[in-house]
Structures are given as C-alpha cells and as structure tokens.
C-alpha cells in the first residue's frame, strides 16, 4: 500500500551511520600516501611582509614542502578568489589572495603552507618558518575605520569604505515632519563565530595519469568551490570534481570558498600526493569568517497612537579585511529592518567598512538578527515613552493577515520586489503571548519583586526571508536495482536535507523511504548546483525534487500501464513496485517491480522502448523560484536577573513560528530550537573580542562562550502553517529562524526585569558585568 510520509515526523535517514560512528566526515577520509598541511598565519592584524625563510622548516625530517604564493603562482591563472556577489555599490575590489604576498591584513591570514608526513610534523615545521614582518597600524573598530585619518586596512587604498548604498521608499521627510513623536536610538550588535563543532577541512588528490583533481571539502557550496577553482587554476570542469563528505555543521561560514581550499588543491599537484588540511579550533577562531558587528543610528517617527510613520537612519557594517561574499549582509539588514510592521516611509544609508579583521560573511541569520533587534528595541522605546504595553504597540503596527501577500516597496539584492508572501503575524503574537502568560505577568512580577526577585518578560516578532532562488537542481532516478536515487547540488549540513528530500520523493513514489538514497553536494553527480544557504534547500531543492519525482512517477505508471496492459488510473506505486489497485471484493496480485521498469527503459540494442516512451526512468528539475518565501514568528521570553551579580537566567521561552507547510515536524522543531540556542548565545554569551589593534582576544572555547545544556532553557514551540503561495509544496525555510528574534526578546525581558533601575540596553550581547554596571548607574542618585 502507498503510505503518506509528507508531514510526518519520520525518523531521519542520516541517523544510523552517525549514531554508530560510521559517518564519514572530512577528517575521517584517508587516502593512500596522503600528507598533511599546516598553515603559517599572520600574528599581526596588519603588516608588510619583507621576506619568508623556510629553510629550517624544510630541513625538518618528514617535511615535503613549504609553499608561499610564489610557489603557487605557476599553477594559477589568478591568485585572487573573486567571489563577491554583484553590486554597483562597491567602491573597492578586495579579493583574497590564495596566500598573502607582501601584506597581511588580518590575524590568521594564511601566508605559507607546510606539507608534511602528518599534522604533528607539519605544525612543528610551521613554527620554524620565519616571516619578516613590518607591523603596520590596524583598523579594528568599523566606526573608527571610516573616520578621517584612520589607519588604512590595505596600504594601497585611499580609505576604508568598501561600499555604500541607500535604500528607501515613501516621503520620509514628510513622515518625520508630521510625527507626534520621534525617538532616536544607537544600537549595536556584536559579532560571533559559527563554531560548527566540526571545523573546516579539505583534501585534494591529483591523478597525473588522467589529470583529474578531486577536492573533498567540508563546504556548504561545492559547486561554487568548483567554479572558483576552475577560474583560478585554469582547468576544465571535466578535470575537476568537488565532493562534500558528511558535514559536521555549517551555520553559514562554510558557504564561503576559502584560501585553504585553493592552496590544498595546488599543493596536491605540486607534491604529487593527496594533501589533507583539517582546520583546528584555534584556526577556526581566526581564519573562518564571522558576522554581525553593526552599528545602527536610527530614528522612528510615530503618530499619537504609536503607529509608525517612518524609519530612517544609517548602518555601519564591519566587512572585515576582504570581500569573501559581498554586500549581502547589510543589504539583508536594511531590507528586513521594517520586519513584520507597516512602515509607510523608510530611508536607510548603509556603509560597509573594511577592518583588519577576518572577513565577514553570513552566520546563521545573515543580517536579519541585527535588523530584528533594532526594530524591536525601537518598539520597546515607543512603548516606554508613550506608557503603552509593549505588545500593544506592536499589535497596532503589525501587517494584518488579510493584507497578504504584502509588497514592501524595496528591492532585494537581485533587484526583485520584496513581497511578504503569507503569514498571520498578529495571530503569532497573540498565541505566543497567551502561551507565555503575558497578561498575567505584571502580577507575577510584582509578587517576585516583593520577594526581592527581579523577573522580566520580553517579546520580539520577526520575519525572515528564506528559500532564496533562483533554483536548486534535483535529479530523481529509478535504477535497474529498483532503488530510487536522488541527487542534488545542495549539501547536507545537519539540517536533515536527505530525509527532507527522501520524504518529498517517497511521497510521490508510494512512501517507501527505505528505498530512496539521497546524494548531496557532489559536482560529479549534479551538473548545476548552488548549495546550502539562506534557509533555502527545502524550498528550492524540495520543489525541484517534488516536480522531478512527480514526473518519474507519471512515467513509471505509463510504462507499467503498457507492461501490465492496464489503464493508468487502475495503477498505484507502492514504493518498490507498481500494482493494479485492489477493488472491493477483488485483491489483485498483478504487479511489476520498479527495477524491471528501469531495466526496460534502459534499452536493449535493436529493440524499441516500451510504449514509445523516451529512455530512462529519471527526471532532472531546476524549478525557478526567484522570490523569497518569508517565514515569521514571535519569541516571548521570561528571565530572572540577579541584581547583585548581573547574571541572567531564562525562565521561560516561547517561540511561535511559521515556516509554511511542515514536511517533518520533528526536524522543524530541531531547527527552531537550535536556532534559538544560537540566538541566546548572541544575546547573553558569545563575545568575539578584538583589541584596538585588531588582535582577537577570545580564541578558545573557554573564553568564547557557547551555550551549554545548563544555560539552555526548554523551548516551548507553537507551530503555525501559512502555506507559501510561491511553490507547490507551500513550504518556507526554517534553519535560521530561531536566531532572529532571540536577542530582541531576551534583551527586552532583561530591561523589563530591571525597570526599577531605569536600565536601558542598546546592545547585544550583554554580559553580567555590563548589566551590573547599568544597575549601578540606575541606583546612583
């Protein structure tokens, strides 16, 4: 019998191998005669390089090579990774060299690579490489970097402005001129790392006989990696393959193509042996991209009833030292600033500042958390100033369900309209408030204060653009073995992609997920691919899989009709075979295995194909989905603040979220909760410190605080399902959603708890010492 699997919490197909320790992550791959790499990295945020002496390192037994950019050049068409997303707003091209030449611009920038028998020896030798540095002044804070006379991040630049753009609509001056109230805020959100528990890694192998270069890489975007390598190495696509093994988390930074991917590839050709590089955690802290440093100067104009008339302001965005992705982050930030609210007039200026820090690219949330934090801080400000309930101010400004789809007169980075496709934002807020006991909270708060306890409640709404297009390729193929094979350019980074695709495909083929195998992230298996980012795969790959599976199912039924000599409408796929449906009083045992159909369609020399059909039992789809689907939701958080230590404990956390139709509720829960954990880190724990010279201060996991099980509250989830009208499955993305409202809701709650001290918080994260300082200020007469 055919089974329904779409919408069910089926067990994940990924799990058994992972639970048995049989999965194959990048460092689990070992090739014959493989050698290992360690990088020599800049200890300076900015310095000239006068020379590199690798003599002692080369002399160490077990060392095969020490390579600098001079050694790589003969193998490179260009020594730069040109990866910036297109934009007319760039004022400088700042592409990363594969290895630094005569200037290093951030701590951790790779300068040379040691190739040795094993990683131990490679690290021994890397210590022996002597680099003659000429330390230069560094730009650390992105606001200072834009000031007149600031140290230049790159010596050949006239200033540190990488790009600038404006975005807006409506008559902003009129809106502010007519406003009953105008409030200004300066809001800061700090950066953090991705800290997938598996760091990055790459293994390159070159076969001189066939001149084939294969790169295994822990990447969210193998096809991008391939394209960059093709450009840089001047090789043909058919001489290169990029494969992703099991990936131990991505969270954004693994979507970037890195210098190490290129260097390892060239090194394998130079030394004539497979080369493995596994990033260690200290490297991850200094060499893997980070995100979120932004400084917002904003004003909100409201009428006498707290209805928004306009938003305006500016953002300074820390871009880091190079363009490793583009202008996408502050674009996302500015574009999503209005959030789920009606904003009649809007004007933002955005500047991207180069700094002598590791490049900045998306980390889970990608510009959205900063925007959500800022608008929610403003909503709280309006409520406080006007003496209104914080929920009520939001209620008066939320876009209503009947106004969906709602067009915001803004353009995405690709020039497309911003259309909020579906959702019921007021219901999201109301349901989560009810679940969290918002209306009863003031009484509880008073009682707690009488006991000397300071509890507070806060809320934040969010919308998050997901499912960024234009497409993700999926092939569905029934093999002569009878198994269903699914191939996609998307990669599986822990988000359950294989299960998701297996569910979608199995749904069309009789529901037998056991008979479906999913291959992700292999450029040899899928011709076109974009990859995993922006909570996009369920939307774009899911839709291609859905359409492809439907076509394969139709074809299989038609062939079966021919083979079984039965009308198509009498047939049914049960996962491994097609049979004639039972009728009342009559059980049919007429069936044909899918494998037999695939055999028939594989063709036999000299014989016609059955039914006059085209060959094969497969379909490849690239369904074009340009417009983003907008997921949405509300977080309501209750905290207790120890006013003597500044410590914050989260007592209750309600998250209502809407990612359209849900394919696997269990996986969606996991994504929402995991994203929330990341957001709690951004609000209270994760601080990636740099000093004024651009030296990173927190480069181990004892100093950089990831949330552990003892700090993490149980998340109380509410699911809403507003189907997206933009794709046949009605789905939206969920991977990044949890992170977006967390800082806004938590900081709102902390501020509420500390209301007796008049505390106002304008930044995230906030630490106990900072909270205590605010309390002390508030206590002062």
């Amino acid at each position: 019998m055919s089974r329904a699997v779409f919408g069910e919490s089926v067990k994940r197909v990924e799990d058994p191998a992972l639970l048995r320790g049989e999965a194959r992550f990048i460092d689990d791959i070992s090739l014959p005669s493989m050698v290992e790499a360690a990088f020599v990295r800049s200890p300076h945020a900015h310095a000239g390089i006068r020379g590199i002496d690798a003599g002692s390192a080369m002399a160490l037994p077990g060392v095969h090579a020490v390579l600098t950019i001079d050694d790589l050049r003969p193998y490179l068409e260009t020594e730069f990774l040109v990866v910036g997303l297109p934009s007319s707003s760039y004022q400088q091209d700042r592409n990363r060299p594969a290895l630094a030449g005569d200037e290093v611009v951030y701590v951790g920038e790779p300068i040379a690579v040691v190739i040795a028998e094993d990683r131990y020896i490679a690290e021994d030798a890397a210590q022996l490489v002597v680099v003659d540095y000429d330390p230069l002044p560094a730009a650390s804070d992105c606001r200072d970097a834009l000031a007149e006379g600031a140290p230049r991040v790159h010596q050949d630049a006239k200033d540190n402005l990488l790009a600038e753009f404006n975005m807006g609509y409506g008559d902003i001056d009129a809106a502010f001129a007519s406003a009953a109230h105008i409030y200004a805020e300066s809001i800061t959100q700090h950066r953090g790392g991705s800290h997938s528990i598996e760091c990055r890694g790459a293994i390159a192998s070159h076969d001189p006989g066939t001149d084939q270069l294969t790169l295994w890489v822990s990447s969210q975007m193998p096809h991008s990696t391939l394209r960059v390598l093709v450009d840089m190495l001047g090789r043909d696509e058919n001489q290169m393959r990029v494969v992703t093994p099991d990936i131990g988390g991505g969270f954004g930074p693994k979507l970037v193509v890195y210098q190490e991917d290129v260097v390892v590839s060239v090194a394998a050709m130079i030394v004539g042996r497979p080369v493995k590089w596994i990033e260690d955690r200290r490297e991850h802290f200094i060499a893997t991209t980070q995100e979120r440093d932004q400084y917002w100067e904003v004003e909100i104009a409201v009428d006498g009833e707290a209805r928004i008339l306009g938003l305006r302001g500016s953002i300074i965005h820390d871009h880091g030292a190079y363009t490793a992705r583009g202008i996408n982050l502050p674009q996302n930030s500015a574009e999503s600033f209005p959030g789920p609210y009606e904003v009649p007039a809007f004007q933002m200026n955005t500047k991207l500042a180069l700094t002598n820090k590791v490049p900045v690219t998306p980390v889970r949330g990608a510009g959205h958390p900063q925007a959500a934090f800022t608008i929610e801080r403003l909503m709280d400000r309006v409520a406080r100033e006007l003496g209104l309930d914080r929920a009520e101010v939001r209620r008066r400004n939320l876009i209503q369900a009947q106004d969906m789809p709602y067009t915001r007169p803004l353009k995405t980075r690709g020039g497309l309209a911003v259309v909020l496709d579906s959702g019921d934002y007021p219901k999201s807020q109301e349901d989560s408030l009810a679940r969290a006991g918002w209306d009863q909270f003031p009484a509880r708060q008073l009682a707690a204060r009488a006991d000397g306890r300071y509890i507070g409640i806060g809320l934040a709404n969010f919308v998050k653009g997901t499912g960024r297009g234009p497409f993700e390729q999926v092939t569905v193929r029934i093999g002569t073995s009878g198994r269903v094979h699914v191939y996609t350019g998307g990669t599986a980074i822990g988000q359950g992609t294989k299960t998701m695709l297996a569910q979608i495909v199995a749904e069309q083929l009789g529901g037998d997920m056991e008979n479906v195998t999913v291959t992700t992230g292999d450029t040899a298996a899928t011709a076109l691919g974009i990859g995993t980012s922006n909570s996009r795969l369920t939307v774009v790959a899911g839709t291609s899989a859905h359409v492809a599976a439907g076509k394969v199912a139709d074809k299989a039924l038609q062939i079966a009709a021919h083979v079984l000599d039965a009308p198509v409408e009498d047939l049914e796929i049960d996962g491994t075979a097609i049979h004639v449906k039972d009728r009342p009083g009559r059980i049919s045992n007429v069936r044909v295995e899918l494998g037999a159909l695939a055999h028939a369609m594989a063709g036999t020399p000299g014989y016609t194909l059955p039914g006059g059909m085209g060959p094969g039992l497969e379909a490849t789809e690239n369904v074009i989905l340009d417009s983003k689907t907008f997921a949405s939701g509300t977080a309501v958080v209750e905290v207790e603040v120890d006013v003597e230590t500044g410590g914050v404990k989260i007592l209750n956390y309600v998250l209502a979220h809407d990612c359209g139709r849900i394919i696997n509720p269990m996986i969606v829960d996991g994504q929402a909760i995991g994203g929330t954990a990341h957001g709690i880190g951004n609000a209270l724990y994760e601080w990636m410190g740099y000093d004024e010279n651009g030296q990173p201060l927190t480069t181990n996991l004892a100093d950089y605080l990831l949330v552990t099980a003892t700090e993490m509250p149980r998340i109380d989830l509410i699911h809403h399902q507003s189907p997206s009208p933009l794709n046949p499955l009605g789905v939206k993305g969920v991977g990044e959603c949890g992170v977006v409202p967390a800082p806004g809701a938590i900081i709102s709650a902390v501020e509420d708890a500390l209301a007796p001290f008049g505390v106002h918080i304008d930044r995230a994260p906030i630490s106990p010492p900072q909270i205590l300082a605010l309390i002390t200020q508030g206590r002062a007469p």
């Binding site: 131990y120 690290e123 200290r282 230590t645 410590g647 201060l697 949330v707």
Partner: protein, 291 residues
Amino acid sequence: MKPPPFTYHDPATVTEAIGLLASLDNAKLLAGGQSLMPMLNMRYAQPDHVIDLNRVEGLSAIREAGDGLEIGAMTRQREVEFSDDVERLCPLLHEAMPLVGHRQTRNRGTFGGSLAHFDSSAEIPTVCAALDAIVRVQGPGGARDIAFKDFAAGYLSTSMGLDEVLLSVQLPAWGAGHGFGFEEFARRHGDFAIVSAAALLEAGPDGRITRASLTLGGIGSAPLRMAPAEAALVGAPGSAETFAAAAETCRGIDALEDIHAPAVYRQHLAVVLSRRALEKAWSRMDADKGG
C-alpha cells in the same frame, strides 16, 4: 593543535620522578593532564621532557589523618567528589567538587594537579586556602610540608621547587556541625569562577561566632584569605548584619581585570559572594553538635 615533540618518561616511584626532575632541563610533570594537555596541544607549553606521574604508586588515596583528611596528589577529582570521608570531614570540599570542570575532566583530573597548576579561580586551591591545608612535597633533599599560606608564589605558580613533586594534601577538619558555604559566579556551569567565596564558621552556645574562615578565589593571583573579615566575624553574633559587614570589608581589595570582567566587577562580586557564602555557612550550622 598537536603536542610538540618531547621525550616521555613514566617513572614508577616518587624517587625516580624526582631524579628525573632534577636531572632534566625543561621538564614538565603530567598528572591528570586536564590543564597541561590543552597547553601542549596549543603549544603554549613546549617542554623537552614530560614526566608522567600516572604510573607512580602510592599517590592516590583519601584517608583520615590526624584530625582531618589526607588526599594523595594523584587522586582523581572524581574520587574526591564521591568520597564519603570527604563529605563527612570536609563538606566544603564536597560542595565545591561538582563545580570543578565537568564530569569528563573530573574523571581524569587529579586533586594535586589542580593545586600544582594553581589557577586562582579554580575551586580546589580556594578550598585548600579556606581549610589551611598543608601541602606535602618531596624533592631530592627529602619531603617537606608547606602551609597553604606559603604555597602561592604568583600567578599560576607555587612555592614548590622545580625539582619537587607534590605528594599529598592534608586538610584539617573543622569541628563537627560547623557551617560551610561555597559560592561562585561562573558564566556557565563548569567554567572557572570569575569569583568564588568559601566560608567556614563555628559558633558557641551563645550564638556568637568562635571561628571563621573566608576565602576568595578568582580575585588575585592566588586565593585570598580575608583576614579583616574573619577578625570582624569572630565574637560577633551570627546575623545578616554581621555577615554583610564582614563581606563589606572585602570591597577594597585589589582585583584582577581580564576579558571576562573588569576589576570593579570582581570587587563587587567579592562582597556579594562573601556574604552569600557566610549566610549559607551559618544556615548549615548544626547547633546540636555544638557548631
């Protein structure tokens, strides 16, 4: 992040270990490895020789000695955590042990290793300071006892000689029914404390405090006994006012400043956590046992 090259030694006796220490340049003792191994992996420590104490006999035991406990240097923190003798005779230590790192590090980490590493924000040195522990060490010239007040020699450094091995620690027990309280503020469970406070109290039948010990960890380069607070406590009645006043004497102390907290924050926590530890200790006084 792989350890640098070194020559590995695994002596079977203390004498052998001391001999190696005395004869080798740039040698490091390896106990449970929970501090040294990360430093090796990060190459912050690059010794030419590593002398592993894990095969040395006779260094891991918890036993009653005199009026207290003797804990062998190589006793795993886990053994201390689950020891009934520790709970009975040194309940302050029993209370602090679950805060030492995590289960996996306590399974391997040793009591003596934590002391020898001497991170002032670690719980074990703070408890030892509170209890006036006596550290027994042995060098080429024989064994000697170091009173805990003389054990510290600066940040992450002790008064042990470079050729001395830590043998055991004697923890004098306080009177039956004494009050004890360990309080710390750490960012996450299992993290090193930003500040910790350890308090011990005994009182007479009249409710007046007869003996007091108050120690702060994480404030300076070593755990600090708060003599002014202790002096203020002895003779005073056990009351909220007494404890608040005693804690207040901690406010002016010099405090560390690092990426986790400015000095002023540590100074503030010193007062808050002292008061809480004292109140907790007082609440645990068992009057029936004359505490």
